[in-house]
Symmetry: C2
Subunit: 307 residues, 2 copies
């Protein structure tokens, strides 16, 4: 089996789990981590023995050119990071999660990927990501009907990062709470910066694209310890579809998942890295990828085992 060589960009929650998933993947090896220069050599236990580098050039010089980059930085920077790795001749795989902007990112990365003769997989987490593939499959099974995607209860990584970027917020945790019918409320625990106005923080949060569509409950905490006690990485989704197949109603489909959030996102990124090696140049999301392309080994073995 040819080993797929991978670089992980970023050593946050998802990057750390990506390293772990690569360690377990029988067909991949991680050449190293690319991090901010100021972070190099820190958090040695999270590197799991892998070398870290300030940029791709330094990694290539030391380890050779990887096949693919798994982009694990902040979501808002993912399209730029992905485009840069594509231009450098690597496949890029990211879990960009701002749903409304996904089509524009798909178009941008499609052009960049085709120009480079490489593959970009974007929005490759669980939502957007595997949930997207399930929504497509559910519609193929029941073309008329309604799907509710109910998230949580759990911490949203994207929303927590968005809350932290709000002016006056020192740190924050955003919990997603399902309120039925595919609607959610957002419970945001905020550690304010010294002297920041709580009312201003609330207003800025309420105006942010991540929070403006849902009921919002902002709670201020006194210190970091109180914030850290508010949430861990548990998350989940309940996806419900009731619809009809042909002229027959009362078809009921339900997907219920309870997971460690960054661990799953990282695993999807790693599985999509494998798919990137098998696809023709261009950009892809989970709905564009044959499920078998995500698995290690030979297609016909999976046909025999899974079909």
């Amino acid at each position: 089996m040819t080993m797929i060589s991978v670089v992980v960009h970023g050593l946050g929650n998802i990057g750390r789990h990506a390293i772990a998933a690569l360690e377990k993947a029988p067909d991949m090896r991680c050449l190293g981590i690319i991090r901010r220069p100021a972070s190099l050599g820190t958090q040695a236990q999270d590197l799991r023995g892998l070398p870290d580098f300030a940029d791709l050039e330094a990694l290539i010089k030391a380890k050779g050119r990887p096949d693919a980059a798994i982009v694990c930085g902040p979501s808002r920077q993912a399209p730029d990071d992905a485009a840069r790795y594509l231009a450098a001749g690597l496949h890029s795989i990211d879990s960009f999660d701002i749903h409304a902007e996904v089509p524009a990112v798909v178009r941008r990365l499609d052009e960049a990927a085709k120009k480079a003769g490489r593959v970009a997989v974007t929005a490759a987490g669980w939502d957007p990501g595997t949930d997207s593939a399930l929504r497509a499959l559910f519609e193929a099974m029941t073309p008329a009907g309604t799907t509710f995607t109910n998230f949580g209860r759990g911490r949203s990584m994207g929303h927590s990062v968005a809350a932290r970027s709000i002016q006056g917020v020192a740190d924050a945790t955003s919990i997603t709470i399902p309120i039925g019918g595919g609607r959610h409320s957002r419970l945001v625990y905020v550690l304010p910066e010294k002297g920041a106005s709580p009312e201003d923080i609330k207003a800025r949060l309420a105006a942010d694209e991540y929070f403006s569509h849902d009921p919002l409950d902002v709670r201020f905490v006194a210190d970091q310890a109180e914030l850290d006690a508010t949430a861990d990485n548990s998350h989940g989704v309940l996806m419900e579809r009731i619809g009809s197949s042909g002229l027959t109603s009362n078809q009921r489909l339900c997907f219920d998942m309870r997971i460690d959030n960054p661990a799953l996102t990282a695993q999807v990124l790693v599985s999509c890295t494998r798919a990137a090696m098998r696809l023709t140049p261009g950009s892809y999301t989970l709905i564009d990828i044959p499920p078998v392309a995500l698995l290690p080994g030979e297609r016909m073995d999976h046909v025999a085992r899974l079909v």
Copy 2:
């Protein structure tokens, strides 16, 4: 939108639902049904106004050449039927359901499809079929772990057909009952032929490939009315996976579906007919098809809506 023209082969449970699903599909039209000559013109209400023909040549003469054939005859005949339609220059889509024989059928139809420059989609029901795609996705999300696929309670079309083909059986209904851990018992209601030996029927059922792997409960009924009262088309599946993403355990995935069985199978066949128009020549199962290819309309609209 170019309309995909389709012929439906067979007017059993699945064939009738395939006609209904084609009626609802915005991008397809059914040119007619191919049936046994002895059946022509009967069950007019099931034809829903469509013409029926004894063979493809007669249909082509009256209606022109269809793009694809949806094969809805008995499962054991599906590979031969599919190969014949491929040789005639049509895409073929079938729901062949004998799991152990799927790889051989995939290989046979791949050769036939490539020779004809057409696409074969096989094992395109819900299990094998959409369940197969879900099993693959679940493994991509949690590479280590165990999946249990628990069917029922409901009538198995494949097992009922298999039971009916047993010597001494006039008619039969086979109910699949989940007993946990992905295991099932088979409850088979049998209307015996006059003079047939119940013990012989039981022995033949127990030796059949469809029944030899599971606990078997055979019950004999006195007449057709008693048999007809035993089961309808309700069915379902509970697919459970517990596993790990990377080094993180306790990832829990569950798919729970309650459906009208032939209606769903027929809808999957119709959705796969659409995919056949978009794929390169060869044979495919549901794990080989990008989910978006199953849906009508433009990929980027689905990216915006589902991703």
